[in-house]
Subunit: 407 residues, 2 copies
């Protein structure tokens, strides 16, 4: 007997027919003798509708009321799935965030989970009741509903799996697992059987939309075995596990790309001590998340050129902040939205030299100019012109042996 947490996203519970399919999947796990907790998102489209209403009602909305309105979507699916399970003869009950309780901090709209009291739920699981929990929501210390941010139901599921010490956390979604790269760009993309937490974390934060970054970090911290799989097919998905579980490590396990980056270059900045703080401090104060940074110092050492990337949506805000800020003197500010960040990811890089060189050579062969480079222990990212996205991803996918016919 295993204890399993199953999580179903919005497309998997889009209507009653799909909820019935979900119930069948849950029933199969119950019939196999497993204890099952289920985490559900809102029916697809519902959250968008609710968010639109909130924004129309009050453009500068109170995040506490936002959470009250928006969390209702998961409440509906939790109840409907419990009912559908009961109708199939499976004992089930729903749990809202405040009923568990799933305690969070008071940062409404993107709250962090602080504690989950699973006492009641454990009792029900021991009585073979399927516990259906509304994802995405919690309760703050001041007794108000909080939400965990878009895609937060993944985090709800992993947190619940950790609290329940579940043997597995199955994340059902509309893709069949984690791929070596986006199959819409590279038809030879392969589904990975296993991927490490670290790789998944990089992939999630670098643009792969399969799992929410926070949920992967939480899974890694608590050692929750996560499986990503499709709710529409019966093929096995991708297991996200500890590095030790992967016997034969690929040097590179995936190529990710992120189009929502923008590049800002400050030309001719006075090179004085503390200049970086003067530039990036005000951006951080306004919640602009600066990612890649490079600095070139002029021959005489008195001037420097600074290039960095920010989220595309923050480009206007960022240029405004830099133009207003009287502390920083520069000759020229250039902003470019037509860039893409391409990343090569793999835990094997730790023990295998030459990945960066091979990446740069490959791009050079295709005539692609690298604008910015950043690296970590298990990934290399480069910023290039957006028009080369497909060309670069396909070339790297082939050169690192990821194409399916080479597998």
């Amino acid at each position: 007997m295993s204890r399993i947490v199953m999580k179903f996203g919005g497309t998997s519970v889009a209507d009653l027919d799909r909820i019935r399919i979900v119930a069948d999947r849950v029933k199969r796990e119950v019939d196999a003798g497993n204890q099952v907790a289920v985490v559900v998102s809102a029916m697809s489209g519902t959250t968008d509708q609710l968010v639109n209403w909130v924004e129309e009602a009050s453009p500068l909305h109170d995040a506490r009321e936002y959470d009250t309105v928006v969390s209702s979507g998961e409440q509906v699916t939790a109840g409907l799935l419990a009912l559908t399970l009961q109708n199939k003869g499976v004992s089930a009950r729903s749990w809202l965030g405040w009923q568990v309780p799933m305690k969070t901090n008071t940062v409404h709209g993107s709250a962090r989970i602080e504690d989950i009291d699973t006492t009641e739920m454990q009792k029900r699981l021991d009585d073979d009741v399927v516990c259906v929990m509304a994802g995405f929501q919690g309760i703050s210390s001041d007794n108000r509903i909080t939400t965990l941010g878009r895609g937060g139901s993944d985090t709800s599921a992993v947190a619940l799996a950790a609290a329940l010490k579940a043997d597995r956390c199955d994340i059902y979604t509309d893709v069949e697992g984690v791929y070596t790269t986006d199959p819409r760009i590279v038809s030879a993309a392969r589904k990975l059987d296993k991927v490490t937490y670290e790789e998944m974390l990089e992939m999630a934060s670098l643009g792969a939309k399969v799992l929410q970054t926070r949920s992967v970090a939480m899974a890694m911290n608590h050692g929750v075995r996560v499986q990503v799989l499709s709710s529409f097919t019966d093929t096995p998905g991708t297991l996200v596990v500890d590095e030790e579980e992967i016997v034969e490590k690929q040097v590179v396990s995936g190529i990710a790309y992120a189009k929502n980056e923008a590049k800002i270059t400050l030309v001719g900045v006075e090179n004085t001590p503390g200049i970086a703080g003067k530039i990036f401090g005000p951006l951080a104060d306004d919640n602009v998340n600066v990612d890649m940074i490079i600095q070139n110092i002029s021959e005489d050492g008195k001037k420097t050129d600074l290039t960095f990337t920010v989220p595309e949506g923050d480009i206007e805000k960022s240029t405004e902040i830099l133009q207003k800020s009287g502390h920083v003197r520069y000759a020229k500010l250039m902003a470019d939205k037509d860039v893409v960040k391409i990343s090569v990811i793999g835990v094997g890089m730790r023990s295998h030299a030459g990945v960066a060189a091979r990446m740069f050579e490959t791009l050079a062969e295709k005539g692609i100019n690298i604008q910015v480079i950043s690296t970590s222990e298990i990934k290399i990212s480069v910023l290039i012109a957006a028009e080369y996205t497909e060309l670069a991803v396909r070339a790297l996918h082939t050169v690192f042996g990821l194409d399916s016919d080479q597998a």
Copy 2:
């Protein structure tokens, strides 16, 4: 300064435009220096949609999950109204049933309010915060959401007004107040300025759909001054008050009709002691609400004919129960759905004789045959063939001096 509870039904909060109109009305009361608590229903149509989903998910549904799903509608409007008020510069926050808490018993789907803890809400009201409460919902002792039954938001509002010792409870709806009878049938129907709790109670339970019966009973018990008025016009509504507040009492203040009645006649029942219990016991056990009853005893006293009414929706169930029940012997069972109950209501009847006689004469003059009669201190009801509904209501409205030109 007064403390007011304002309640808005589903048509009044049907979309964001209407919610803005509601917010303007609330703001007007706030600007006049009043402390305001607001109770809202779900957007019209939402509850029906949610109920349909529940019934489709599980025909024999778990009432606890029904309540979880269906209560989400009021949650959305409470948040949206709070946001809309904030956007107009009015301090406001939403309260869900479990947050107040509005404690109820555990009879899910038609729970009764047991206690409302308004400590927190009183504090906010004293700080000039508009408290927007989701109607129709509460929380049971086992920490689950309960609902109060269809139209339960009226009851939520009156209960809150009683708990807050509010000076008035304004029920905004899509009609302008309480009428002497249905204006769709009698164009000369008049809006009443005032009506007593007792009359309102009879009208509500006899088919007038303005207020939920339970909410009127609660208002009467707690002496809550209720005003029924339209959220679409600015005309004053009808005040539901204690009898003493009405100086000049009408003998008859309203004519009600209820079409959802059905008549069952058992012919040739053996007239033995305890026979009534044998007939009505099994019906009560199956929650069939028997209303009017008459019994005629045959000349020799050995046989009796029994006629009674049940809700139209329960007619098949009732005949089945009576046919199955082996304890009762009768010659023939006749069922008739084409009946209507017409009622004449007025506290003035207590001190004014001859109302019944005048009612029967009027119907006789129009050639309408009375099938069953039942009376209480302040109302007389008769069962007649449904085809005479309009004729009877109009004739009685005129004869009791209710037509607007006679007012």
